[in-house]
């Protein structure tokens, strides 16, 4: 009975007893969730355009962040460093399309997937060669990102919001909205959706597959840079960040691999879910459940919606 009480009753009693902590936990989850959504978006864009799960998205976050800091360390002003980094990410997108994707057209998806492993290790090695393995401080202040915190004395305690977290949530929300608008309403966006539906049909109406691939990889590069700046400002920019990108996996399982709204909603559910779970139920098993709880939540949803919350239900005749 005691265990049932601890699992089913006590967490809710705690939520009622210290509502400030509940609000703080939800806020932390929300911020993480938005950042997960941003990473997941990078995956979704490339998956929609090429049917490939881009394993390199995590290292692209690190690479973009390190390139930005690297330019700044060379004396380049912060804003110019952002522009130059975008240039590097564009070159990366073109290189990936020319060297990796184009020669592999019409190969099975698994071959393309494995190729993204190759890109990952290439970027790790190249990044370490250029920038070294030391963690770097993100140039948040130079980019005019706010620092410090706002504290509200409320709900019988206090709720503290870091200004950088507020900025991260706002910037991520704007970015997601802009991308959704771009892909829903522009000609390139429609072309992307056509490519996502059928490569052959898209080619037959004159859409350049190569051009679309460059665009989506570049867009994923922009997303990676924003994620790198935001997550880097919360801790620092190091190769350990690429592991966090794998948190996008349960987000994708939950939201569906082809849905931009799915990435957003999935990110928020995973972010808030894992923080609430770790905070209220984690201590029952000694803590540290956050790393697998996200997968547990995603798998729970899959029992009821195997295609994910917003994924396409595929019915194939056999």
């Amino acid at each position: 009975m005691d265990i049932l009480y601890k699992v089913l009753i006590d967490p809710f009693v705690q939520m009622g007893a210290a509502p400030d902590l509940l609000v703080q936990t939800v806020w932390e989850g929300l911020v993480s969730g938005v950042l997960y959504a941003l990473i997941a978006l990078g995956f979704v864009l490339i998956f929609k355009a090429s049917g490939v799960f881009n394993f390199a998205q995590g290292i692209m976050v690190v690479f973009a962040g390190l390139t930005l800091v690297g330019f700044h360390e060379m004396g380049v002003p912060a804003i110019l460093a952002v522009i130059l980094t975008l240039g590097v990410m564009f070159l990366l997108a073109v290189s990936v399309e020319r060297v990796v994707l184009r020669p592999l057209v019409n190969q099975p998806d698994i071959i393309l997937f494995m190729a993204t492993f190759g890109i990952t290790y290439l970027l790790i090695g190249f990044g370490e060669l250029i920038f070294g393995g030391n963690p770097k401080r993100m140039i948040a202040e130079e980019l005019y990102l706010p620092t410090g915190s706002i504290e509200f004395q409320t709900l019988g305690g206090f709720v503290q919001l870091q200004k950088i977290d507020i900025a991260a949530a706002v910037i991520a929300a704007i970015m997601i909205a802009a991308l959704a608008f771009f892909f829903q309403t522009t000609r390139i966006g429609r072309a992307l959706r056509a490519v996502a539906d059928s490569h052959k049909a898209a080619l037959s109406v004159g859409i350049s597959l190569n051009q679309i691939w460059v665009i989506v990889w570049f867009t994923a590069g922009i997303v990676a840079l924003v994620t790198g700046i935001m997550w880097g400002a919360r801790s620092d920019v190091s190769f350990a960040l690429q592991v966090i990108a794998l948190k996008a996996l349960p987000v994708l399982i939950l939201g569906g691999f082809t849905s931009v709204p799915g990435a957003i909603v999935g990110g928020l559910i995973i972010g808030i879910g894992e923080k609430i779970g770790e905070f209220y139920w984690g201590p029952l098993v000694g803590g540290g459940i956050e790393s697998w709880l996200a997968y547990f939540i995603a798998l729970g949803f899959l029992l009821f919606r195997p295609q994910g919350l917003f994924g396409e239900k595929i019915i194939e005749r056999i």
């Binding site: 993480s32 030391n134 963690p135 801790s235 592991v243 948190k247 770790e278 803590g287 790393s291």
Partner: protein, 443 residues
């Protein structure tokens, strides 16, 4: 016989002669092979790089300044592990055949794998202040050494420090002490001894594990800390976990002077990440930081200034760089002691094991090495492979580490019986062979 064949034959003979001439001096040159298992890449590179630099630079300095040890040059070779246990074992397997005299795994995970392997291959492992704490029991682990202190000693010094600040060991009763740790063998090491001390002194121990994947995502861990409000926190972190923990502590207004890291959580970059708010953060230490020591100045002169080092000049003397220097000093002293014991110039792994067991770095010897005030004396013995030596609490002043306490003895009376019991358990669980190596006379 034509001229062409004659010319070819002559050319072959000359070439053979040249190549032989080139090889013979290399073979004849006496060297002692010291592989260094280091990591300059991966998620833990931030901590691994300064240590690797310090280790390599000290040994290179001995080669450049003194012509090696006892007239024999050291052949130092780094093998990149990425702090990955599998890669670390590969490094061991690929270098042991080259005549390695000692291994420094630089990871508790790798150390745990090498304990049975190196014991069977009869090559000593120096896991300096890391690895399996129970390996301090020399009668069970003749090939494994973990001076100058074990993790269990470290945890006991932390408790002593808390007691000192709270007004005595009896004041610990009812206190809440947290352990935030990497959820890996390294991070879990002090749990056993802290649980034991909690029972004895009546404090409550709260555990806060951080998965490797969440090293830079500690939001919920620190929410738990905010809820539990532990009076003190011990940080057994490594790599990217440390700067994030310091940042989170600052963010959550946790009193910095009550957050104490193990010696591996005391990198300059770890504390620097917290900015001004990190002022007051503490870390255990067993050597000094800074470059105001003759040994560091010799490294600068003979290695760094000559362009033989990978370290950026401004990082020489930082805490983890000096950690690497200290580690290599132990390697060198073990080799030197082995030469003294055996009378041989080129010592092998068995000789170095004897050297480690008879290691006695006195205050006078530290002075000779340009390390006066750099570290406390270290003495090992046949049964005590750690020495349970003194450590102090270092404190971050906003720009550098300073000595924040006197040198303190670990609670050897509490720790040693626990280590012996753990060694017995290890031996029983692994069908461990009884020690057959004789003890060095007087050790």
């Amino acid at each position: 016989m034509n001229i062409r064949k004659l010319a070819l034959g002559t050319a072959m003979a000359v070439l053979t002669g040249v190549s032989t001439a080139a090889v013979v001096p290399a073979q004849a040159q006496e060297q002692i092979y010291v592989p260094l298992l280091t990591y300059r890449t991966g998620s833990f590179a931030g901590s691994g790089i300064p240590i690797a630099d310090g280790m390599a630079d000290y040994l290179r300095m001995l080669n450049e300044r003194d012509g090696g040890i006892g007239g024999v040059k050291l052949l130092v070779e780094e093998c990149e592990t990425g702090y990955d246990t599998k890669k670390g074992v590969e490094c061991y397997e690929s270098t042991k055949g080259k005549g390695a005299v000692i291994y420094n795994p630089y990871s508790t995970g790798i150390t745990l794998q090498l304990i049975p392997k190196a014991s069977a291959d009869k090559i000593p492992v120096l896991s300096m202040a890391y690895g399996l704490s129970a390996a301090a029991v020399g009668n069970t682990f003749p090939w494994i050494y973990n001076p100058p202190v074990t993790y269990w000693d470290g945890a006991s010094v932390f408790i002593k420090h808390v007691a000192e600040k709270e007004g005595g060991l009896d004041k610990l009763k009812g206190k809440k002490i947290g352990l935030i740790h990497l959820d890996a063998p390294f991070g879990k090491e002090p749990i056993a001894v802290l649980e034991n001390l909690a029972k004895e002194f009546g404090f409550e121990l709260k555990l806060y594990p951080v998965a490797a994947a969440d090293m830079q995502n500690q939001g919920s861990v620190w929410l738990n800390i905010r809820r539990d409000r532990p009076d003190w926190i011990y940080n057994q972190g490594w790599g990217a976990m440390n700067p994030t923990a310091v940042k989170e502590a600052a963010k959550n207004n946790y009193p910095m002077e009550k957050l104490v890291g193990v010696w591996w959580a005391g990198g300059d970059d770890d504390a620097r990440a917290g900015g001004d708010q990190a002022k007051g953060y503490k870390s255990l230490n067993f050597h000094a930081s800074g470059s105001n020591f003759p040994v560091i100045q010799d490294i600068q002169k003979h290695v760094v200034d000559k362009g033989f080092s990978k370290v950026p000049k401004d990082k020489v003397g930082e805490n983890l760089y000096n950690r690497g220097v200290y580690n290599s000093m132990l390697i060198a002293e073990a080799i030197r002691t082995a030469q003294k014991i055996t009378g041989k110039k080129v010592v092998n792994a068995e000789d170095v094991r004897r050297g480690l067991e008879a290691l006695d770095v006195t205050e006078a010897r530290l002075g000779e090495m340009g390390m006066k005030g750099f570290a406390a004396p270290v003495k090992l013995s046949c049964d005590d492979h750690s020495g349970h030596n003194k450590v102090y609490v270092a404190q971050w002043d906003g720009t550098k580490w300073t000595q924040g306490s006197d040198w303190m003895e670990p609670m050897k009376d509490k720790v040693r019986p626990l280590l012996e019991s753990a060694a017995k358990d290890y031996a029983a669980a692994n069908t461990w062979p009884a020690r057959s190596e004789p003890c060095q006379k007087g050790s």
